[in-house]
Amino acid sequence: MAEKILMIALSPTMEEGTISAWKVKEGDEVKNGALLCEVETDKAVMEYESPVNGTVLKILLEAGGSAKIGELIAVVGKPGENIDALLKEAAAAAAPAAAATPPTPDRAAPPAGPTVGTAAVSSAPPAAPAGPAALERAAPPPPAAATAWEGPLGYGSYPRSSPLARKLARDRGLDIRSIPGTGPEGRVVRRDVEGFTGRPAPGYHAPAGAAAPEVPAAEARAPAVPGLQSQEIPVTGMRAAIARRLGESAAAPHFFLRAQVEMDSLMDARAAVNASAGEKLSLNAFFMKLAAEAIKRHPRINSTWKEKTIQIHGTVDIGLAVALPDGLITPVVRDCGGKTVSRIDAELAVLIDRARRGGLKPEEYSGATFSISNLGNYGIEEFTAIINPPGSAILALGETRREPVLGEDDELKVRRIMRMTLTCDHRTIDGAVGAAFLRDLKLMLQEPLRALV
């Protein structure tokens, strides 16, 4: 169903906003959080982010026009959706206001009244069809209530939540919909809000008078960098699980193997595939696939210590460590050896998206037979990871960067180098076994064709 995009208060004292520029046009597909337009408030030019996924069906207020808080400025919905009723309703709501106050000369919104109707809508350009892959990847979030973050919170549009949790979220500038609930039927309760360390909601503004996060005026009073504060943070369920599992892992005698990989071939191959496919396959999907192929040749890496026996697993189920606002989780892609890179990438995208929204099911993040942790994005050269049970090994990947390398012909060459560290449980994997695996993985990463032979 189509969502009304209303002028919202982007500063505590704002009553009216002027569109400086639209960053989307009718027919454009927008994602939740994408920039819709810039709005000049009484204080500054603020960015207005889309609260929903969909297609821009109608822009009612052109750049330069201004609207009071709560007035309709655009409609986002499904391509081809009928929004006549919605526009009529908005027109009817605007009519008394227009009659009471003289129209602003620069207001470019369509005139209020019955003329805003079918004709205007049918002339809207047909929206481009959304890519199926993109739709599959990001399940639409619960639709925002028409009154955005200001409205009463009902079960229809919002997750179950206790009144106290809603009040706390409001006070902290958090969108209750972004907080995973741990109460009955997923109810968001106090401990969830207090344990949540994510960002305030995009477009959120604190009620006037409340301690307002992200409000420019507040910066004048507050120090630029908040000082340290002594506090005790409640241990969330996730944090407790991390503590418990990594504690279990400490029982395994760890040893570490390091190797340096020339990434040029893989990076070039990926760039070529991405250029032709028009889709961006993540590097992690390649790592998972190639690790699985190397494991097929060294099944002992894919094992679990069970005191009396050692379980060698029949499929390579790889968990990828994903950082969350408070904690981390390892969504697991099953049978990476039996899947293509693009299939692994698609599954990974869905799992990561769900993980970030707190909706991962236990069977989707447990039982990894091998794990990968990639801190390359943080500029980390190399690091060691702690084994994630029930697996016996975890691969820690550092940054890929250009470095001088002395070639076999004694010439200095520039190569893209990545350093990786394999952590093994010595109860199941001996040094030579781990080393043989890591050597083959290194060769596959350097020459991906090897995975096929």
Binding site: S162, P163, L164, K167, V189, R190, R191
Partner: protein, 327 residues
């Protein structure tokens, strides 16, 4: 401080008020020669004589009406009902005359009368004699209703009730008469309309009154063993109700469990639960729980009789529910 029983505390209150004011007199079934069915009036006939301590026939409606008339005429009667189960017969006098006389006479008559006796289930008394009937009285504008749970509160509240110029229903309990507690020798009053925090805690508010206070206190001990600090609010007065003390506690703990030995429908407990939901809405982290008696006539079978009433286990379960604890 001396430790005395609930019954002795009530006896002391009657003794002190009858000594203080010659207009105070006690009437009811067996209150004189027999020293009271539950010995609350022990020794009063000997001390104050038959003019002040009157044995009545088994006619609840009749002698309650006599009391109402005496109050209108300027005396301060204390009417003892052998139990509130029997006093259902007298309800017309209480509801239509005692509660409304001051209002309907435009203040020409006051109604300084106390109706008192055991309320709520005891043991092995079956359906007709095991009823917690406070809703009947708490429902009526013009009445005051108190339900003390300790000897200290029983003495202080009965004395306040006797001195009040409005009809006050005092809800006692057959099983509570033998309960012991500290009661000072010097005179004191417990004001009507003031709740009492019987135990401080930060994790959950348990609001109760009368006999269930004991199971709530047991539950609080169990909960303490689980690391849960329960705050116990004893309402003491049901009408007027000390809402502010309840709200202050719930605003602190964000969770409320109401424990009431009445049936759950249209009860004092359900009313308090509604008040909390209405007035502490934004401070609640969980729906308000109500632990009441099961919605059935009291079974005679003893196991079922116990199972039908609030228990410490039921209170603990309700507290875990509002704390989202599953252990």
């Amino acid at each position: 401080m001396p430790i005395i029983t609930y019954r002795e505390a009530l006896n002391a209150a009657l003794d002190e008020e009858m000594t203080r004011d010659d207009k105070v007199f006690l009437m009811g079934e067996e209150v004189g020669e027999y020293d009271g069915a539950y010995k609350v009036s022990k020794g009063l006939l000997d001390k104050f004589g038959p003019r002040r301590v009157l044995d009545t026939p088994i006619t609840e409606l009749g002698f309650t009406g006599l009391g109402v008339g005496a109050a209108m005429a300027g005396l301060r009667p204390v009417v003892e009902w052998m139990t509130h189960n029997f006093a259902l017969l007298a309800l017309d006098q209480v509801v239509n005359n005692a509660a409304k006389m001051r209002y309907m006479s435009g203040g020409q008559f006051t109604m300084p009368i106390v109706f008192r006796g055991p309320n709520g289930p005891a043991e092995y008394l079956a359906a007709q004699h095991s009823q917690a009937l406070q809703s009947y009285y708490a429902h009526i504008p013009g009445l005051k209703v108190v339900a003390p749970a300790t000897p200290y509160d029983a003495k202080g509240l009965l004395k306040s009730a006797i001195r009040d110029n409005n009809p006050v229903v005092v809800l006692e309990g057959e099983l509570m008469y033998a309960w012991k507690g500290e009661v000072p020798e010097e005179e004191y009053l417990v004001p009507i309309g003031k709740a009492d925090v019987k135990r401080e805690g930060k994790d959950v508010s348990i609001i109760t009154y009368s006999k269930p206070l004991k199971v709530v206190q047991e539950a609080a001990e169990t909960l303490a063993g689980l690391g849960i600090e329960a705050e116990i609010v004893d309402l003491r007065s049901l009408r007027p109700l000390d809402e502010e003390t309840v709200y202050a506690s719930v605003r602190k703990t964000n969770r409320a469990v109401v424990v009431d030995e009445s049936w759950p429908v249209a009860s004092v407990g359900s009313h308090v639960a509604w008040l909390i939901s209405r007035n502490c809405f934004d401070m609640l982290d969980a729906p308000v729980e109500l632990v009441a008696s099961e919605d059935v006539p009291m079974p005679y079978n003893h196991r079922l009789e116990l199972a039908a009433q609030p228990s410490a286990a039921k209170v603990v379960a309700a507290v875990k529910k509002v704390l989202y604890r599953e252990d």
